[in-house]
């Protein structure tokens, strides 16, 4: 069973290196304008790519996922907090799936 711990150690070390090297090696402000702009856009693009279409396939029913997406966008647009949007999306899925089940 010690083999499992070797696997786990390799997992943890590799992932840590991936995360730690850029953060410790890049210590200065990057001067290149394109590279700076690229890094500025990365969070928005990568979070968008991960959110859609994954959100509509995450639930038991595609329509509850769509409803969660729509509700999330509207609430976030209105400036509702992180926790508020997250909890509301979950609640929307729960209610919609309950309705679908009752229909």
């Amino acid at each position: 069973m010690y083999k499992a711990y070797i696997y786990i150690a390799i997992m943890a070390l590799t992932i840590f290196l991936i995360r730690v090297l850029p953060l410790t090696l890049i210590r200065k402000k990057i001067k290149n304008k394109t590279l700076r702009s690229f890094l500025f856009y990365v969070p928005y693009v990568t979070l968008s790519v991960m959110t859609f279409p994954a959100i509509i396939y995450a639930t038991n029913n595609i329509w509850s996922g769509v409803a969660a997406l729509v509700a999330g966008v509207i609430l976030a647009y209105k400036g509702v907090s992180l926790l508020g949007v997250a909890v509301s999306s979950c609640a929307v899925v729960f209610v919609i799936e309950l309705i679908i089940k009752l229909m």
Binding site: I8, M11, A12, I15, L23, T34, P43, S48, A58, V87
Partner: protein, 238 residues
Amino acid sequence: MDNKFWYKKGLKDGIPIALGYFAVAFTLGIAAEKAGLTAFQTFIATGTTLASAGGYAGISVIAAGGTYFEMFLTMLIVNARYILMSCSLSQKISPKTSTLHRMGVAFGVTDEIFGISSAVSGYLNPFYNYGAMTVAIPGWASGAALGVLVGNILPVSVMSALSVGIFGMFLAIIVPPAKENKVIMGGVIASFVLSFLFNKLPIIANNISSGMQVIILTVVIALVLAILFPVKEEENDV
């Protein structure tokens, strides 16, 4: 800015992450149990890796009895997006941040913690990340361990509802800046459309892993935006 203030803020913003993690990790725990890992091993594995896709991929390697090199290579590819995120955060923290704090922040670079850290205005204080990690890591690791122990404790309807929590949080991060900045808005829409296409085109969906798709789309879209709409110094100078 005061470390205590940022730590508390991190704790608060970490709560939805912890809840979402708990649900996602739970399903990861079920996979770990099938791969023959104990609850304790799963707790250690998830608590030290903090990666969903990475965790699944690692457990599949263990389940298949893959080689250690295979494990290393799989981790490198599936988690490569963290390289981008860490590069992005290297510009978000103060250049004066010590190596130890850089390592502390690095340990907790997950999709979600990266998301909330990017949304902070001004330089990122490492204590904000520590706050989020304080709730998120136990949520993640205990969810997975519990998944191993008690398979289906939560009703299917609750699991389904919890599964969108993470995405709701992402929306809360990307939508407000998109409202203020037309380029970001365009970027978000383009990302949605292209990601949907990648997901639907069989030639891509069947041949490129979802982790790889995220990397390709992120690099291409962010690069095009950077070339077409370079940001002004003050806008980027956090």
